[in-house]
């Protein structure tokens, strides 16, 4: 019934293999035609000459009071225990409605440096640096609630989901360093701030621009250490294979995937040169704020050649704590 060589079984086999061949050809073509991935964090020229190459944002989570730190208000002592003058109108905040008495600052202010700028007794060391500091005393935000106000400071909007400053900056400038994250977030030793990860989100910008969290302890980046038995060479081969597979099946518009691949590659470079970004003998000493700041400075020093590096350092420094410090003598603790 069938001509010789065209048996039913052979037709099926050839057809099946034929489909395989078509698929193989397509895959080979895609591989041959696959463009090398461009570095989404390649350094870009600024719009005009920059004054600064890196930024360290010491974000004092929780809000220290201006009249207790850098903005002395002697008027408070004169009105101590009295209500706010009626001319101010009705003041409502998150927990109070303006009918509580004026509270003078318990901290003494003195003038420091050649500039003679006032600093409270909370900062005996920082007060020596005033000649390097420019205070801006009349910033305002639009929310009396911590998290939305944090989002506004970090991303310009009181809602979460918008790109944070560090994301915008790495989007605008890229990074000259290939072996370090361009945008680093170091949460305070006690944990992440109330606003959480949306504070260093890339929002609708490509995901590569989100902040990289460095945790305290011996593993600042989770899963960065090679598992036992895995050599760098084997890790490289695995990543190369993974990269090939990803190249075959990744849409260029898939920024989540691009960010993930870029993270793998950056992690590999950080594994290869751990001392370039943090000393193995001196892991992130974050049990104390001093250790935390030392780690920050050390990392920055290692990244000194980088352009557009953004360090977002969140730390606790709030009225709650201020009250806590004061409560040692007064015996009460107010949590706000």
């Amino acid at each position: 019934m069938y001509p010789k060589g065209l048996q039913r079984r052979n037709v099926l086999r050839m057809a099946a293999q034929g489909f395989g061949a078509v698929a193989l050809e397509s895959m080979l073509q895609r591989e041959l035609g696959a463009k090398p991935r461009s570095n989404p964090l390649a350094a870009k020229a600024p719009h005009f000459p920059a004054k600064a190459k890196s930024v360290i944002f010491l974000f004092m989570v929780g809000a220290p009071g201006q009249m207790d730190t850098f903005d002395p208000k002697p008027g408070l002592a004169r009105y101590a225990g009295k209500p706010l003058p009626e001319s101010f109108g009705k003041i409502s905040s998150q927990f109070t409605s303006g009918d509580t008495p004026i509270l003078p600052s318990p901290w003494e202010f003195k003038r420091y440096g050649q500039s003679g700028l006032p600093v409270s007794s909370l900062y005996p060391h920082l007060s020596k640096c005033v000649d390097d500091i420019c205070f801006v005393r009349n910033f305002y935000t639009e929310s009396v609630v911590h998290a939305p106000a944090m989002y506004q400071v970090q991303s310009g909007r009181i809602l979460m989901g918008y790109p944070s400053m560090g994301s915008w900056v790495t989007y605008g400038l890229g990074s000259e360093s290939e072996n370090l994250p361009a945008y680093v977030v170091m949460p305070q030793p006690e944990g992440t701030p109330e606003g959480g990860t949306p504070m260093w989100s890339s929002g609708f910008l490509p995901a590569i621009h989100q902040g990289t969290t460095l945790r305290g302890g011996p593993n600042p980046v989770l899963n960065l250490k090679l598992p036992e038995g895995m050599t760098p060479q084997r890790q490289r081969r695995t990543l190369d294979f993974l990269q090939k597979m990803n190249d075959l099946d990744t849409e260029e518009t898939d920024t989540e995937m691009a960010a993930r691949i870029s993270s793998y590659e950056l992690a590999f470079r950080m594994q290869s040169r751990p001392r370039r970004w943090i000393s193995q003998r001196n892991p992130m000493r974050r049990a104390s704020f001093m250790g935390w700041i030392k780690s920050l400075r050390k990392s920055l020093e290692r990244a000194a050649c980088s352009h557009g590096v953004w360090w977002n350092a969140g730390c606790v420094s709030c009225s709650y704590s201020l009250v806590e410090a004061r409560s040692a003598s007064s015996g009460t603790l107010t949590k706000t």
């Binding site: 600024p46 000459p49 004054k51 600064a52 190459k53 890196s54 930024v55 010491l58 004092m60 929780g62 809000a63 220290p64 201006q66 730190t69 903005d71 208000k73 408070l76 101010f88 003041i91 004026i102 509270l103 050649q114 909370l122 005996p124 060391h125 920082l126 640096c129 005033v130 390097d132 500091i133 420019c134 205070f135 801006v136 005393r137 009349n138 910033f139 305002y140 639009e142 929310s143 400071v153 310009g156 790109p163 400053m165 609708f204 910008l205 001093m290 935390w292 920050l296 400075r297 920055l300 020093e301 420094s317 709030c318 009225s319 709650y320 704590s321 009250v323 409560s327 107010t334 706000t336």
Partner: protein
């Protein structure tokens, strides 16, 4: 906690300076808002977004100055008050970025960090 941050932040500024890094590093200190002049629960203070201090040091900053003021009670900012848009545009400016040129097309809109724009606080810089 303010006390705990005192020595480390002072050390950071001094270290950056002694290593010649402060000139190229913009250090910013600030929070999400300030505190009210009135009391809360006796000896605390409630949240005050109407006027509060943030500071800059390093990269291009003219140190040893205080810009702007709050009223006699530290409640409201007076004169030229600065919104977070102004804060952001000032930082972008220090990094050589024009707030209006730094945009990303999202849902058909040219999205920017400062939305419709902030004013760069020129006085911050030397």
């Amino acid at each position: 906690m303010c006390g705990l941050t005192d020595q480390p932040i002072a050390a950071l500024l001094q270290d950056l300076k002694s290593r010649g890094l402060l000139d190229s590093t913009l250090v910013i200190w600030g929070s999400e808002f300030g505190r009210l002049p009135m009391s809360q629960s006796g000896n605390g203070r409630d949240h005050n977004p109407h006027g509060f201090t943030m500071w800059f040091a390093g990269g291009g900053v003219k140190g040893g100055q205080a810009i702007g003021d709050t009223d006699d009670f530290g409640l409201y900012g007076v004169g030229d008050r600065y919104h977070m848009r102004d804060f952001h545009s000032t930082i972008l400016h220090a990094l050589g970025l024009d707030q209006h040129k730094l945009w990303y097309l999202h849902n058909g809109r040219h999205e920017k960090l400062t939305d419709f724009g902030g004013k760069v606080i020129e006085k911050v810089f030397a």
